[in-house]
Amino acid sequence: MEPIQLIFLGLAALAVVAAFNVILQRNPIYSAIGLIVVLCCLAALFVTLYAQFIAAIQIIVYAGAIMVLFVFVIMLLNVREEESKTDRQKYLKWLAAPLFLALLGEVFAVLKTVGNPSASPNPPGTVESIADKMFTSYLLPFEATSVLILMAIVGAMLLARRNTKEDIERIEEALAAQPIEAPEVPRSADEKKEEVAA
């Protein structure tokens, strides 16, 4: 067993244990920490695959921005530990483990048909080699990605803002114009507090 294989096995085992943590923990903050551990292990594996730029970008973007966003949202919504509600079908949870193993067995049965290719020359994982392709042959996906990020920014800002007074008036007008009896406009808890205070 070469040392690089031992390193791979250690990192892979840690990643799998942390992934099980993500799905099995009750507190969502612990799940977020498990996912961060998975991301760091995968970044180390990317380094062993001669993709050092992707490893750095994964730490900076995924673990440093996306997971921080997740943790912010969990803290903003004040998510507590999961209370055990009444499960309508209690016996189904015992099916989870055998079916998981069955799915894994099917995936491994397909994996057995993959042969190990002989080692090609290592691809340079540097910034220059990726940029050399990105700005020449793959320029269209790059530009499309920037448009996508712009759409995501605008969409996230629009979706997450609260109903302004004009929005509520417009909704109430539209509901009053209907012939059926209109239900109450769903207001956020903050507006209810404002109404009570006013």
């Binding site: 070469e2 690089i4 294989q5 791979f8 892979a12 990643a15 799998v16 992934a19 993500v22 799905i23 969502p28 996912l35 995968l42 594996l45 990317f46 695959l49 993709a51 992707i54 994964q58 973007v61 995924y62 921005a65 996306i66 966003l69 997740f70 949202v73 903003l76 919504l77 998510v79 509600k85 949870k93 989870a96 998981f100 894994l104 995936v107 994996l111 993959v114 190990n116 080692a119 090609s120 020359p121 691809p123 994982g125 080699s129 990726i130 392709k133 990105m134 996906p141 790059f142 990605t145 996508l148 990020i149 759409m151 995501a152 920014i153 996230a156 629009l158 979706l159 769903p186 956020s188």
Partner: protein
């Protein structure tokens, strides 16, 4: 040297754990995290094939997938926030009607 099938096996295990998490979880934020787990498993496959075929295109693909995952996480969390404001619960089992 680590064989290619080992990396593919790790990717398969992580992807399967993500799928099981999406099916099992009732908290919608943890559900999103399991989707990110699946995306990371696919990234491992892409980088492994990029190294074993000697082509940098796989790593470029991973770069684009990372950007798309960031955009999707931002919009998805915004949807979750507005959903939480209207229902006061994060349980996906209770979001079973299209009308509020």
């Amino acid at each position: 040297m680590v064989p290619l099938s080992w990396y593919l096996a790790l990717s398969a295990v992580l992807f399967t754990i993500g799928v099981v998490g999406v099916i099992i979880q009732r908290n919608v934020i943890v559900l999103f995290m399991c989707i990110e787990l699946m995306l990371n498993a696919v990234n491992v496959t892409l980088v492994a094939f990029s190294r074993f075929l000697g082509d940098t295109t796989g790593q470029l693909f991973v770069f684009i997938v990372l950007a798309v995952a960031a955009a999707e996480a931002a919009v998805g969390l915004a949807i979750i926030i507005s959903l939480f404001r209207n229902r006061e619960t994060l349980n996906v089992d209770e979001a079973d009607l299209l009308k509020l």
